[in-house]
């Protein structure tokens, strides 16, 4: 009997995963159709555009670029997903990672350590600074009850001007006569080696490792259980003795720590410094979309990040064939919106069907006797 139940449960969970996968793929196709119509209406040939995307995307060079572009997206999406798992919306990843990038890049120039320790030191500083910036929002929420959506948005703007100020007044490297708008370059011992020269940095492995850790901590640990429980049903979680305020703090600090790593592929893997124009921006918001598309699951996030990385990598080619490259970002936004909508309604349909099946099963067992 128990065995039968267990196999039934396995079957159910597999059915659910298949349901999710199928609806996601269907949603992506639907989104591409919508974008095709959009292209058509604005006087561009959708088949030419999609053909171009596929054609260029299938070369080995592009695949490496896809992984490279996916790296920061994975970090950012995990940071957002940690919040989501507790019903917290960390829109502040943008501010957190830029702040962390500046502090870590500067800190990295002030120490001399053997290579692996130096790299580790910079990563830790980045995580601590990201967590510190995120903890402001956590403290505001815990002590004053300010919604983290508003506070993290405000903190993004504050971070931007604060970063600009400390960079211009303290951290800017003026040895080049003011031509160099960056911090001092990090010594070679503090640089993350490339996996494939100039194509893919070692941070990609760190990103995969971070996704694995995210899975272990959030899905397979006691702490992760408490986190998800607080997110699913805060009242039940509190009744079960899970400290709500502590969980908010932990979740946001953890989220900020991962967010601190978003710019590291650039800071220790590419530019070896922080610069207002050389450090990439907007990854915080992209991370939200990737987390949504990946449904907060580590594997989903990795796949979604690669999809977005792939789309991003084709934008230059599109521009060459006279299709505005911003269409790539529009496609991404539409994909996310459609995927979220389709998932929502398909999971509702799935739940309804499961309930119906359970009712039928109960009837046939005739539990009243």
């Amino acid at each position: 009997m128990t065995q039968q139940l267990a196999s039934q449960r396995n079957f159910d969970s597999m059915r659910k995963s298949l349901n999710t996968l199928g609806s996601s793929v269907g949603a992506i196709i639907l989104a591409l159709v919508i974008c095709g119509v959009l292209l058509l209406v604005t006087g561009k040939d959708p088949f030419a555009a999609y053909g171009k995307i596929l054609e260029t995307g299938l070369t080995g060079e592009k695949l490496l670029e896809m992984l490279k572009r996916a790296t920061p997206l994975i970090f950012s999406a995990i940071a957002v997903a940690i919040g989501f798992k507790m019903n917290l919306f960390n829109i502040g990843v943008e501010g957190q990672y830029l702040f962390a990038a500046l502090i870590a890049a500067e800190a990295g120039t002030h120490v001399s350590l053997p290579a692996p320790v130096h790299v580790l030191f910079i990563l830790v500083v980045a995580m601590v600074s990201g967590a510190a910036w995120a903890s402001i929002a956590a403290i505001l929420k815990i002590t004053r009850g300010i919604n983290e959506v508003i506070s993290t948005i405000m903190l993004n703007y504050i971070a931007l001007s604060f970063i600009q100020w400390i960079f211009e007044t303290f951290f800017r490297d003026d040895s080049d006569g003011g031509l160099n708008v960056k911090t001092t370059e990090i010594a070679p011992s503090g640089r993350m080696p490339d996996l494939v020269d100039d194509r893919l940095n070692g941070m990609f492995i760190v990103a995969l490792f971070a996704a694995f850790l995210y899975w272990v901590v959030v899905f397979r640990s006691r702490f992760g259980f408490q986190l998800r429980a607080s997110g699913l049903n805060p009242i039940a979680a509190r009744t079960a003795g899970i400290p709500a305020k502590q969980m908010i703090l932990f979740a946001l600090v953890l989220s900020g720590a991962v967010a601190g790593l978003v710019a590291m592929p650039s800071v220790i893997g590419d530019v070896y410094a922080y610069g207002p124009s050389s450090t990439p921006t907007q990854f915080g918001f992209a991370g939200i979309t990737v987390a949504l598309l990946g449904r907060n699951h580590p594997l989903g996030i990795i796949v979604a990040a690669m999809l977005f990385g792939f789309l991003d990598s084709t934008s230059a080619v599109l521009q060459l064939s006279e299709i505005p490259s911003s269409i790539v970002k529009v496609i991404q936004a539409i994909i996310v919106l459609v995927v979220v909508i389709v998932n929502e309604s398909s999971s509702r349909r799935y739940n309804r069907k499961t309930a119906e099946r359970a009712a039928m099963a109960l009837k046939s067992l005739d539990v009243t006797q």
């Binding site: 300010i146 508003i150 405000m154 703007y157 504050i158 604060f162 918001f285 911003s326 996310v336 309604s345």
Partner: protein, 413 residues
């Protein structure tokens, strides 16, 4: 409004005026209440006010609207395009339609398909930012003065007017005196400030500003004095109860979000048609979010939103027109801290006494030591103010009870 409440409000306003006037005379920073500063503040208030009202309409009908920023972006772009093609009035109409498009997308996603309201809003923001960029690449690139991130300049501007007698407007060709302007020039204690503030509010006023200000009483009337408004608010407070009384919650939420989007679009339109004469990427600069914060600060009420928007508008106006006056504003904060300190002692609130004392010391030290505040830091002023205001004024707020909770008709709750 009772008599004593009116009196208290009057005393409060007069007290604030007295403080700011003393600070102005002491520091000789006339720009603190000059008509130029106030006029700029008013222009900056308008988009924030409209964004706040957009948030109000959405949340009162039960849907969070993080996508106001995106709807404003649609508004700036569509408005600038319409104004470039057909003139400013058509432009404003297009701005409203652009915003309504965003509102419709939000309504379909959240009301029809019940997806998370914050998620839908965030995606709309992204969609708007890049969608508009895509359109610019198609429409504006190659036009004279246009490009991927901005539209060609508009040929016409909306008319502006001065109020007759008070600030030198024309009456049938006769140039009336500029009374408030004269008062401002006298620089008297309080009266001079009143002159400056009054003239700032009545001199060179755009018709779009008038429309924006009228939105506030009209919204109040519709939401609190009509059947439609009662039903709309009930679908934000308790959709299940509303439904059981035969109210079509779904339809009302669609209406609420369309109005919300239209107001956000108008807010964007004032940016690209009134405040400047072309669309520029990033023109909204987070004002949609500030509008949302204003709505929270204003306790989901039009009058509160108006107050909050003016606060932000003034903070930004001082920052723009008179960056030297920033140091004087430290003194202003110090003076307010003293008042707050006395108030807290009378009320025997130990924590507030401490906060007031700390605020006073910090602002006094800042005034004595800081000569100029770096430009990069003053940029974050409105956002810091938002957080401080939210942190201090958070206790008595009451949002619509069911804002943010998805609703499906006919399902048990």
């Amino acid at each position: 409004m009772t008599q004593s409440k009116n009196l208290r409000l009057l005393i409060l306003i007069f007290g604030a005026l007295a403080i700011i006037s003393s600070v102005r005379l002491w520091t000789a920073q006339d720009a603190l209440t000059s008509s130029g500063t106030i006029g700029t503040a008013l222009r900056l208030t308008v988009p924030i006010l409209l964004a706040g009202m957009a948030g109000l309409w959405a949340e009162r009908c039960g849907v969070l609207n993080i996508g106001i920023e995106g709807m404003m972006i649609f508004g700036t772009w569509a408005g600038a395009w319409g104004a470039w093609q057909f003139g400013p009035w058509v432009g404003l109409l297009f701005a409203i339609l652009g915003g309504m498009f965003g509102g419709l997308v939000h309504a379909v996603a959240t009301v029809r398909f019940n997806i998370d309201q914050v998620i839908s809003g965030v995606v709309i923001n992204l969609f708007a930012f890049f969608g508009v960029r895509y359109l610019s690449e198609l429409v504006y690139v190659g036009k004279k003065g246009g490009g991927i991130s901005q539209s060609p300049p508009q040929k016409w501007a909306l008319p502006r007017f001065n109020l007759p007698i008070l600030s030198g407007g024309d009456i049938a060709g006769w140039k009336s005196p500029d009374f408030l302007g004269w008062l401002e020039l006298q620089r008297w204690f309080i009266l001079g400030d009143l002159g400056g503030i009054g003239r700032g509010l009545t001199h060179s006023i755009s018709w779009a500003t008038v429309i924006a200000v009228v939105v506030v009483p009209v919204s109040t009337w519709v939401l609190w004095r009509t059947r439609f408004g009662l039903r709309l608010r009930s679908s934000g407070e308790s959709p299940v109860a509303a439904e059981s009384l035969g109210v079509n919650v779904i339809r009302l939420r669609y209406y609420g979000l369309l109005i919300s989007g239209g107001l956000a679009g108008l807010a964007g339109g004032t940016l690209s048609i009134v405040a400047s004469s072309y669309y520029r990427q990033g023109q909204t600069a987070g004002r949609g979010f500030i509008g949302l914060a204003t709505m929270i600060f204003g306790n989901w009420r039009p009058s509160g939103i108006m107050t909050g928007a003016m606060l932000f508008g003034y903070a930004e106006g001082v920052k723009l027109v008179a960056s030297d006056s920033i140091t004087a504003s430290f003194l202003f904060i110090a003076a307010i801290s003293v008042m707050f300190f006395i108030y807290a002692i009378i009320r025997r609130k130990r924590m507030q006494v401490l906060i007031a004392l700390v605020a006073f010391c910090l602002s006094a030290i800042a005034y004595r030591t800081v000569d100029t505040v770096p430009e990069s830091l003053t940029q974050s002023l409105p956002y810091v103010v938002t957080l401080i205001v939210l942190a201090t004024a958070n206790q008595r707020l009451r949002p619509p009870a069911m804002a943010g909770v998805p609703f499906r008709p006919g399902e048990p709750h």
